[in-house]
Amino acid sequence: MNDGALAGLKVLEYGDFISAPYCGKLLADLGADVIKVEPPTGDSARQRGPFPKDIPHPEKSGLFLYLNANKRGITLDMKNAAGKKAFYELAKWAEVFIENYTPKEAKKLGIDYKTLHRINPALVVTSITYFGQTGPYSDYKGTDLIGVNMSGEAFANPAYEVYNTDHNPPLKLPGHAGDFLGGLNGAMCAMSAVFMQQATGIGQHVDLSIQEALAAMVCHEVGDYYDADVRYLRNREDRWEHSPKLACKDGYIMMNIPDQFWAPLMDMLGNPEWSKEEKYQTAVGRHFNLRDSQPHVIEWMKHHSVYEVEKLAKEKRLPFSIVRTMKEVAADKLFVERNYYVDVDHKIAGKIRFPGAPCKFSATPGKIRHAAPLLGEHNSEVFEKILGYSPEKLVKMQQAGAI
């Protein structure tokens, strides 16, 4: 039984790779009925690893399987008239549509808002693009790397070696953080528009820009620029002040030490002689002499292992974490206690463990109802049950290359 918060919400997805599929995943994991349309060649995420034992296989991509569990999958060739017709029939069935093509490509495919709005005026059309539907860059090609750079995120990414600006370029975030963020923002917008659809019966076009979704994270830095003409450069060092990453004997730790943690930190260090100096006895003094105190802290850490520091930091209740690898994260019993991971059994890829939903719903817990669809797995189910096509018609469409 489907006990998710979004049970009953009808969603059509024509999205590729990450942003639109992640948007669809968020809805599907909470119970929405998401029909994913793939071209006969399949979503490009199927070509992306990680694959079990590194052997590429279109049904075994970890990324694709993570993004598309709980969805029903069909194939449609939008260049084929019968394929396109079937797509528009599904657009009439759906309450929400999700896509991630540039405005030009969407128009060419016939999945643009103007066309779909004519077919189904109540439809919420969610377009997730790198630069949005309007403005001079709207048809620019993007990728995660491009979005992260165009939003100031790469410039603001404070890897320590960034200070060496002559040697190192701006740094993108790990993985495809920008693409995922675009999908998340798309889901928030789609849900908002659904409320208006329910209240007024009208659909609308959600224009979501990944560049803006990433830039919205840099709001403090931009606010400082507007308010006080502060122009942060890449080699800023102010971040170190309150949240230093420190090298220990055998790894790194991260600490957060605003002034209220000064006393427990000095306790941990054994209240050394240098800390008793006059200049460290007031909050103002400590703030302005941070450059003098930091080397002592750095030196102390070098002589201790991360686990020694962890034990002490816990005793002193300091905000602290070892900079953990995925191995340590995976072994953490916290995620078992919180029932975080989900284990999916896939027909071809076998059993795979995935990160779960980041929020626990007390009344509608939601769950993985089924693994990601094989390419075209639900063709007959969707076309027969939703569109009422006969098996004979399906065979004809298959022969014509429409599905």
Binding site: E161, P169, V218, M254
Partner: protein, 406 residues
């Protein structure tokens, strides 16, 4: 007037600092009435200044970080140390759809405002509790800040140059921000369910779990092949060129990503088809990836002859995914973002204005949403206590004198 998606929703907002306020800002811009509970007992962190010490003049209204995260909301003041204040909240709850908080675990319980208690007063209430490690499990009481969560979740280990050290990811508060957005989505889904069934619920939102879910690549690699993903800097595991390239001018860069032969042909064309591009070393995607260091150096010979905006325009014209790496000033002044209405002006009651970034959406019926200046503490006391709750002037004055409304 524009129709707003959440115009009939009321949110009682107890959140502090960054993550919580960013969450309720979305709801406010989408049209919800967000009532921030504040107190004159202690100032809101970051409420007055951008960077401490950078602003010489005292300001009349709250700007700085506070303004970046709290525009379009309403502010009421309440001294929660007084039992009468808690009684007032209980009365107010009848008008509320969603309660948000990001205190340490247990604060609301101590006030007698646990989810179970609130549910008795308003059976279909939705309560969203945001925390570093979740409200259950052995870490529920551990102190949490964004950099700590970044390290704990494994994301920090992934961030950095291939030959460098791990680093806290992104701009200030990346982890706060992504959690805030997962929270908004969860609240909207819970509202959808409530509208359909009349059932409310409790949402336990974890920063750590938000970070792992939004950047699952390392977890997938580990669970599928038992490997720890190496730090990759700007590189992609299969695509090249995929990097930031130096341009003409101090610390200016253009990002280029060629995922297909077509993109590569466009890049060669834009560069004027230099001889080296015909070398067998760069003939196909696999060769380009294998020889990417040499190729990147050769591409940089071309990019260093151009301004970063110019390089972007030339490359995009040739069909190549490319983008100038914007610094903060360039972002704040970007002509494309300006034309799209992403930069907004907010007006205070004395007609003075500030500028801020909008939120990343534009809706065909609701536009960019609802924008109002960041509230002064208690600016909306009258609206809430008098208009919404129907309290008399005397009653309000009395509670003010007793420092309950304070």
């Amino acid at each position: 007037m524009k129709k707003l998606p959440l115009s009939n929703i009321k949110v009682l907002d107890f959140t502090q600092v960054r993550m919580g306020p960013q969450m309720t800002q979305w709801l406010a811009v989408m049209g919800a009435d967000v009532l921030r509970v504040e107190t004159k007992l202690r100032p809101v962190p970051f409420q007055d200044v951008g960077r401490p010490g950078r602003l010489a003049e005292p300001v009349k209204y709250r700007i700085g970080y506070f303004a970046s995260l709290n525009y379009s909301k309403k502010s009421i003041t309440l001294n929660m140390k007084k039992p009468e204040a808690i009684e007032l909240v209980k009365k107010l709850l009848k008008h509320i759809d969603v309660v948000t908080e990001n205190f340490s675990t247990g604060v609301l319980d101590r006030w007698g405002l646990s989810y179970e208690e609130m549910k008795k007063i308003k059976p279909d209430i939705i309560v969203c509790s945001a925390s570093g490690f979740g409200r259950t499990g052995y870490m529920k009481d551990a102190p949490a800040y964004a950099p700590i969560i970044g390290a704990y979740s494994g994301f920090c280990y992934d961030n950095g140059y291939p030959d460098g050290e791990p680093a806290e990811p992104g701009c200030r508060g990346w982890t706060d921000s992504i959690t805030a957005e997962q929270g908004v989505f969860a609240i909207l889904a819970a509202l959808y369910h409530r509208n359909k069934t009349g059932e409310g619920q409790y949402l336990d939102l974890s920063m750590t779990e938000s970070e792992i879910a939004l950047s699952p690549e390392s977890a997938l690699e580990y669970f599928i092949n038992g490997r720890i993903r190496p730090r990759q800097g700007n590189a992609d595991p299969i695509i090249a060129p995929h990097n930031c390239f130096r341009c003409k001018g101090k610390d200016t860069w253009v990002a280029i990503a060629c995922g297909s032969d077509e993109d590569w042909a466009g890049l060669c064309k834009a560069m004027g088809k230099p001889k080296w591009t015909k070398d067998a070393k760069f003939a196909d995607a696999v060769s380009r990836w294998e020889n990417r260091d040499e190729m990147d150096r050769l591409i940089e010979i071309w990019t260093t002859q151009h301004d970063h905006y110019e390089a972007m325009a030339l490359l995009q014209k040739a069909g190549v995914p490319a983008g100038a790496s914007l610094n903060i000033e360039e972002l704040a002044e970007d002509p494309h973002l300006k034309e799209r209405g992403f930069l907004v002006e907010l007006e205070y009651p004395d007609k003075s204005t500030i500028h801020r970034l909008a939120l990343p959406f534009n809706l065909s019926e609701s536009g960019r949403g609802y924008f109002e200046h960041p509230p002064a503490p208690g600016e909306h006391n009258n609206y809430i206590y008098k208009e919404l709750m129907g309290m008399s002037e005397e009653e309000i004055k009395q509670l003010e004198a007793e420092q309950v409304i304070y």
